[in-house]
């Protein structure tokens, strides 16, 4: 495999596919709320793929590491163990980061200070992404809903939260209550944190003006006549 980014590309793709799988799974049992749980889960789990893709485009191993670490943390979110599948992209991202770092010649590597700054930014990105996911899923509303089953489909009607025994309205098949409904507050905060993470990823991975990245990931100054700009 000559391309040092191929494994990381596979990691990004796997992360998105698994996010779609999880989102679909969460949409099987619908619940009323500000936003469908499946959509929130998809966005939350697709974010590491976006950060990884940015790291790939700009040849920044730190961003791939951040994507891998976020994916690793996300793998342990569901108590049922269903999110364990995200350990695959986590491994791929980690390997991709190492592969990308090793493929760069030692003489062309960035300064130590730059590396520390990008490492710190990567840690901050992980914190922001994990915080966003947590706020979307933990800052929730409580409520109940009645399920009316028709001949073709089921209709949901929102009800105020009932702490005691739930009263089933006439005509409804069942009433379900939850204290973990997706809330505008949680999603709003999550959107802010997700945006912050992407912004930080973008800013921390920018290269100096006048420098280029060649096709095999080598960092060249602009004076080098053989340089090609693919990053």
């Amino acid at each position: 495999m000559s391309d040092p980014t191929s494994i990381a590309k596979l990691g990004s793709l796997t992360q998105v596919v698994f996010a779609v799988l999880l989102g679909t799974l969460a949409s099987i049992a619908p619940e009323p709320g500000f936003l469908p749980r499946g959509v929130v889960l998809f966005i939350g789990f697709a974010m590491p793929a976006a950060v990884g893709a940015l790291g790939l485009a700009r040849r920044r191993p730190a961003l791939l590491g951040a994507a891998g670490l976020t994916s690793f943390v996300g793998a342990f979110v569901a108590f049922s163990g269903v999110t364990m599948i995200f350990l695959f992209p986590a491994v791929l991202f980690a390997y991709g980061a190492v592969q990308l770092q090793v493929s760069r010649p030692a003489t062309r590597r960035d300064s130590l200070a730059g590396g520390i700054v990008r490492g710190a930014a990567a840690v901050a990105i992980v914190v922001l992404l994990v915080g966003a996911g947590a706020s979307a899923l933990v800052i929730t509303d409580e409520g109940c809903w009645a399920v009316y089953r028709g001949p073709a489909d089921a209709r949901l009607a929102f009800l105020p939260y009932m702490a005691g025994e739930a009263v089933v309205p006439s005509g409804a098949g069942s009433v379900m209550c939850s204290t973990g409904m997706i809330s505008p507050r949680g999603v709003g905060l999550a959107v802010l944190l997700w945006s912050g993470a992407l912004l930080l990823a973008d800013r921390s991975s920018r290269r100096r003006r006048g420098s280029y990245v060649s096709g095999n990931g080598t960092h060249w100054p602009s004076a080098t006549p053989t340089a090609t700009n693919s990053g």
């Binding site: 495999m1 999880l22 799974l25 269903v82 364990m84 695959f88 491994v91 791929l92 980690a94």
Partner: protein, 168 residues
């Protein structure tokens, strides 16, 4: 499944009578994995599995990755892969095997559902231990293997006991 993948991969090579590449091995492994996923999915849907879709989501990728890697390994090799790539393959393989344990745990007992017992605890402990050590192997070397194994077994046994007490 592992035996089936390897046997079919070898059998197809013998029947063709010419040396096959790793691509053919991969394809064979994938084919076998896909059939197994189909059979397992059918079983999960038909039987009274507590968490059918969750178990399918976990088992599907795990079976495909295991099948692919086994198919590749048992196919004839034109050249040896590098140490780093072998490590990655081993890491993915261990993660996939771990996911198989967790997936079967979900299919047979269902996390958080009634009927969790020793089978559940063992499947989850072994699964988590398998899944954790590859990342440990990459970052910390072999030291992480026994530590993560012991820690995860203890953790999941404790969780099992706590869950059982909570239900009583």
């Amino acid at each position: 499944m592992l035996v089936m993948s390897s046997v079919i991969s070898r059998a197809s090579r013998t029947s063709v009578g010419a040396p096959q590449g790793r691509r053919e091995g991969t394809f064979t492994g994938l084919l076998v994995a896909a059939s197994i996923v189909a059979v397992v999915s059918a079983y999960v849907v038909v039987s009274d599995t507590p968490r059918p879709f969750e178990s399918m989501v976990v088992l599907g990728p795990a079976t495909v990755i295991t099948g692919t890697l086994v198919g590749r390994w048992f196919g004839p090799r034109r050249r040896r892969g590098s140490m780093v790539r072998t490590t990655l393959a081993m890491a993915l393989f261990a993660t996939a095997v771990g996911d198989l344990f967790v997936g079967f745990g979900l299919a047979l007992t269902g996390m958080g559902d009634a009927g969790n017992g020793p089978v559940f605890a063992v499947l989850y402990s072994v699964g988590i231990a398998f899944m954790l050590w590859p990342l440990g192997l990459i970052f910390y070397g072999l030291i992480a293997l026994p530590i993560t194994f012991v820690a995860s077994v203890i953790w999941w046994q404790l969780m099992g006991v706590l869950l059982a007490r909570q239900r009583r």
